[in-house]
Amino acid sequence: MQVTRAFKQAFLERMLLGFRATDVSSKSMSFQEKKSFIKLSADVAIAVARGSRKWTRGLIASVSKEQQKRLLPRVIPRKQYERLMKPCSSNSWKIPRSKKILRKSLRVSSTRRKKKLCAVEKRTRVLRRLVPGGESLSGFSLLDETLDYVLSLRAQVGLMQSLLMTCEASKRRAHELKCTSPETKASTVGNRGRCGMRTVVVKAEKQFSLLKKEF
C-alpha cells in the first residue's frame, strides 16, 4: 500500500463529511459525545478511503455494531458501504476453518518448540486484539493487515494533527485580531469591517491552503 495524495484527500473529505453528518460543531453536545463522534468520523473515513481490506471491514463492522446503525448511513453513503462490506461473506467461511487447522498444527508443533511459540503466540494474540477484524486472521495475513493498518493509522494521525494545528492557528489568529481590533476602533468603521471580513476569508483560505499543501 502506498499513502498517496488521493488517499489523503479522500480521507480528509470523508472525515469532514462525517463531521457534518454527525454535527459535531453544534453546541448541544457533551464533550465526550463530540470526541466519540470525531473519532468515529476519522475511523470511518480512513476505512472508506482505504477500500476493501480485512481490517477496514472489521473496523466498519465494529463501528456499526457500536452505533447500532444510527448514524452510519449518514456518515457513509449507502453504495460504498455495500461495496465495502460485500465480499467479506465468501472469505469469512473459509477463514475460521483454516484457523482451526492452524491452531491444531500449532498445538502439535508447540511441543517441539514450546518456548519460542509461547512468546510469539502471546504477542500474536495481543496483536489480533489490536488490529480490527484480526480475530480470524492467520499468521501471514495478520502481519499483512498490521502493515496496512499501521500505514493508515499514521496517515490518520498526521492528517488529524495538521487539521488540529490549522484550527488552532486560525483560532489564535482570530483571537489576536479581536484583541487588536479595539485599538483600531478609532479608524473608520467600514475599514474595520472590511478588515474583519477579509481576515476571516483569508483565515479560511489559509486553513485550506495549509491542508491542501500537505497533499
Binding site: L16, A155, V157, M160, K171, R198, V200, F208, K213
Partner: protein, 389 residues
Amino acid sequence: MGPARSSGVGSGNSGAYATEIAESLRFEEEIHSIVHPGLDSPPAAGGSFTALLGLPANQAVELLHETGPSEAPGSAAAPSPTGELWRLRLGEHAAGPLHLPLGCSPTFPSNVALVERAARFSVFAAEDSPALSSGGGPSPRLKAEPPDSDSPPTLLIPAEKTQRLAKRKECEKSKAKGPAKKSKSAEENTAAAAKETAAENTDGEKLPYVHVRARRGQATDSHSLAERARREKINARMKLLQELVPGCSKITGTALVLDEIINHVQSLQRQVEFLSMRLAAVNPRIDFGGLDSFLSAECGPLATANGRGGVALDPALWSSHPVTANGARWLPQPQIRHVDVWPTQQSSTAWTRDGAAHPHALLNPGAALFGYDPASSVSLNSNQLKTEL
C-alpha cells in the same frame, strides 16, 4: 512442455516478469531450433536436453556461450544480481571444466557439466531472469532419469543434482496444489544472491505461483517445503514491518519485534484518541459548516463520488499552489512503498513550534493562492461571520 510450462509460470507471475519469461521462451525456441530441428515434442521436454546431450561437446559449448552474451541485454531488465551471476557462471564454467571436453570427444563429462549447468540455470529459469537453457531446464526434470540410467557408471552426477531433480519432479507434481514457493540454488556462492533475489521477489508482490527448490541437505517432502515457503513469506512480512516501525531494525527475534509493533500500534491508536479529544475541544469555535460548503462549491458534492479515490477535486487545483517552506516539508515525498509521509509523534514538537510561524507566513499567500471569485468569498464571509464575529 517447457515453453508451455514456462508460459504457465509467466502468466502466473506478475507482469514485471513477463518480458523475462518471454525472452526465456525465445531462447528456448532458439535452442530447440538449433539443436534439434526435426524433433517432435510429445514429451517435448526431453527433446532439447537429450539433443544437447547427443551433441558434440564443443557445439553445445558454443550454444551456451552465444546465448550467454546475448542474454546480457535481456538480463538488464532482470534484477541485476541474478543477471551478473548468470554471466559469472557462464564465464567460470566456460573457462573451467568445459575446456576439458573440447580436447577429448566423450560426451559424458561434457554432459555432466552441461547437465550441471542446465540444472543450475533451470533454478534461475523458474524465477524471473531470462532462462538461458530453460529448454534444458524442464527437460532434466523428466529426461534426466533415462540418461542417468543409461550411463550410471560414467556419469558423475553429484548427489545434490539427483536430489534436486527428484525434488523438481515432486515440485512439479505438487504444483497442482499451487502453493507459492520460492526457488533456491544449492550452490554456496549463489545461495546468498539467489536468496536475495528470492526475498526481493517475495517482497512487495503476491505471486500466485513461484517455484521452490529445496536447499541442499534439507527435507524434501512437500510438507516441509510448504512450511518453509510459508515461513519465508512470514519472515518477509516481518522484515517489512521492522522497517516500518521505528527502532525495530536492530532488534533480532520475532517476539521482541512483535512487542515493538504492538507498542507502535497502541501508541498510534492512543494518539488518534488524543487528537480527537483536542479537536473536540477546539471545534466549537470553528464552524465546519462553512468548510463543507466551501468543499462542495469547489469540487462538487462528495456524496455522489464513487470509489475511495473518487474525489471530484481537480488535482491541478491541489498541485498549483506554490511551495512555501512549510509546504515543502509537507508535500508528499516520492511514494516509495512503506515509507510514509507523515512525521510521527517524535516530531510533533517541531510542528507545534512551527505552528505559530505558519499563519503569518501563509496569510498573504493564502489569499493569492485560491483565486477566489468574489461571489464565493462573499458566501463564505456570511458563514464565517456567523461564528467568528
